[in-house]
């Protein structure tokens, strides 16, 4: 099942290092994947997305990798900064307006 808040897995990273956040998805028919960042007290914020016919997409300081063979998605954040502290979660779009499934999330904390 899903879990957020106190039960979230946590990734602790040294400031300046790269962060890798992982997500497993369940439906091989999903055709679009999205990463969100959610800071405390705020709504989820779109970071980057990737279509299922791609295996890599890069944005500003972020890269998403998609491995369809093992149904795995990862978000890489380069040179992690204090402002990157947040909960990150993935979502898969199963091709229907009502079929966007959200992952459980990972809390990223930054060590100075």
């Amino acid at each position: 099942g899903e879990s957020v808040g106190l039960h979230l897995p946590t990734l602790s990273v040294q400031e300046g290092d790269n962060s890798i956040i992982n997500c497993a998805y369940s439906n091989s028919a999903s055709d679009y994947f999205i990463w969100y960042k959610q800071e405390s007290g705020k709504g989820p914020q779109f970071i980057i997305d990737i279509r299922s016919n791609m295996d890599k997409r890069q944005g500003q300081r972020v890269t998403v990798l998609l491995n369809k063979t093992v149904k795995h998605l990862s978000l890489q954040i380069a040179a992690t900064q204090p402002g990157d502290s947040a909960v990150y979660f993935c979502a898969e779009n199963r091709g229907s307006a009502s079929k966007i499934i959200f992952g459980s999330g990972t809390r990223l904390s930054i060590r100075p």
């Binding site: 957020v4 039960h7 679009y32 779109f46 279509r51 307006a97 009502s98 959200f102 992952g103």
Partner: protein, 112 residues
């Protein structure tokens, strides 16, 4: 900025009272959503709308109703609030490609 405004942002209400949350968008998008976010459950879809007066239920629709009389406004109503409806409520819109949804900043509702 996805042009989504939620109101009220914070509300405390008593059990048994009606509550209406409003979501307003400025982008004229067709699809709008209401989610709730709770520890242990993540984001769950309550209702969504695919046009004026066109709405459908999500996975946790019991105790909630919605209305969409104008493209820009999507209202969520709790007819008789219960303590189990204490939550953070997020409105979202789907961008025209149908791939990605964007969230508002949330409405914190406490039912006492």
């Amino acid at each position: 900025d996805a042009g989504i405004t939620q109101s009220p942002r914070h509300k405390v209400t008593e059990t048994g009272t009606p509550v209406t949350l409003r979501c307003h968008q400025t982008e004229n998008h067709r699809y709008m959503y209401w989610y709730r976010q709770d520890p242990g459950h993540g984001l769950r879809l309550i209702h969504y709308s695919y046009g004026v007066k066109d709405t459908d239920k999500g996975e946790v629709s019991d105790g909630y109703s919605v209305s969409r009389s104008k493209t820009e406004d999507f209202l969520l109503t709790l007819e008789s609030a219960t303590s189990s409806q204490t939550s953070v409520y997020f409105c979202a819109i789907m961008e025209p490609s149908g791939n990605t949804i964007y969230f508002g900043e949330g409405s914190w509702l406490t039912v006492v």
